[in-house]
Symmetry: D2
Subunit: 126 residues, 4 copies
Amino acid sequence: MTSRREELASRYFNCTERERAVFEAGIKLGTIYHQFVGTPVAAANVDILERAIEDGVRVQPFVKDVRVSISREALRQKKDEFDYQTLTGNMLNVELTISIDRTTVIAGMDFKPDLRYPLMYVKEIM
Amino acid sequence: MTSRREELASRYFNCTERERAVFEAGIKLGTIYHQFVGTPVAAANVDILERAIEDGVRVQPFVKDVRVSISREALRQKKDEFDYQTLTGNMLNVELTISIDRTTVIAGMDFKPDLRYPLMYVKEIM
Amino acid sequence: MTSRREELASRYFNCTERERAVFEAGIKLGTIYHQFVGTPVAAANVDILERAIEDGVRVQPFVKDVRVSISREALRQKKDEFDYQTLTGNMLNVELTISIDRTTVIAGMDFKPDLRYPLMYVKEIM
Amino acid sequence: MTSRREELASRYFNCTERERAVFEAGIKLGTIYHQFVGTPVAAANVDILERAIEDGVRVQPFVKDVRVSISREALRQKKDEFDYQTLTGNMLNVELTISIDRTTVIAGMDFKPDLRYPLMYVKEIM
């Protein structure tokens, strides 16, 4: 991103750098879920879909790293029945690193069996 | 939301209540943008679309209040040409209040002329 | 829609009026599924979400009528567990009427137990 | 796709093979627009996004071929300003071939200057 743009944008924020970094992490996880849930997925395109989601996140501001994996187990179960399905939140496993100046946030989204849904959460702030 | 669910989920978070509240605000703004951009919109359905986006956000955890408005000016400009268009981020104006225990976050998304894009930002943390 | 717009657009089509009407039905069903799957839904917002999807379809060209219902059974099952979930294709039941001049197409999308997925199909052409 | 699934599904259709093929083309174009509009896109990820959209379409039934290109001109114009943007319908250029038994449909979606919006249309039925 251009520093000029970030400089202009930062004037609108009324919070600390840590809080900003956590906010940006939340935006990216909401983006992944609600942009890509519903996408057709099968064994034939699961690898490129993972890479495309990752690369779509990487072009957004403050993303230092991201890893997206889609459950092969979920694909296999369905494959016995039919050819393809559409991406659900339960299939997603994401780890995201946001970096703003001296702050780094590691956040994730993955299915938690005790909650029975895919949780978006803050793993660590450094 | 059920307190049992929130209790279970909170054990996965490694941050303060303020940081959690800001993270939740980011998720909701990312959700609004990436779920609803692309929806067909015209004068005839703009009111119900605003209400449906608001009510969709309200069922999510920790949302105390939300107000969504879609630019009528953008709709009017296009109406001279054609009957309908699809929702873009530039048309959206959102104000969101997240509340977790003693923390309240007010966040927003709206088009900033100096940035020339719709900014998601933290207005205030109380 | 304006007749001027439709007149200009129709010159690009190389098919009969019946085929055009069926094509438009397919577009609308693909739109419903891929625009709205993933939307947060609970007992509190299911009615307005149904109306908003219907009204979003109605602003599109050639839509004479549309009825969208979201499975209350699916919401109830989940409600025992948690507060809200996100819309899936399996919850959707849609009936759509497309009308172009003297042709009317009735198309639908609903979960078929024998197929175990939500089928989009042409019910009748008149 | 499995022939068993298609056999079961075909019983629900009340139209000719040609009409079915055109209907399937409409579904796929509606899917592309409403699933992927809003995705973050920049010079760095435009190639993989094109491939991922194509491969997502290819896993769907009856798709014989598909080519998706995203306007580099649109990306360049914006690049002067900021780092990234989100995909709009106007940037999309799609050509899709649907094949069912002896019927082939070529359909497309691309921005038409005279209409000032991206038109989905039937180019040819063979």
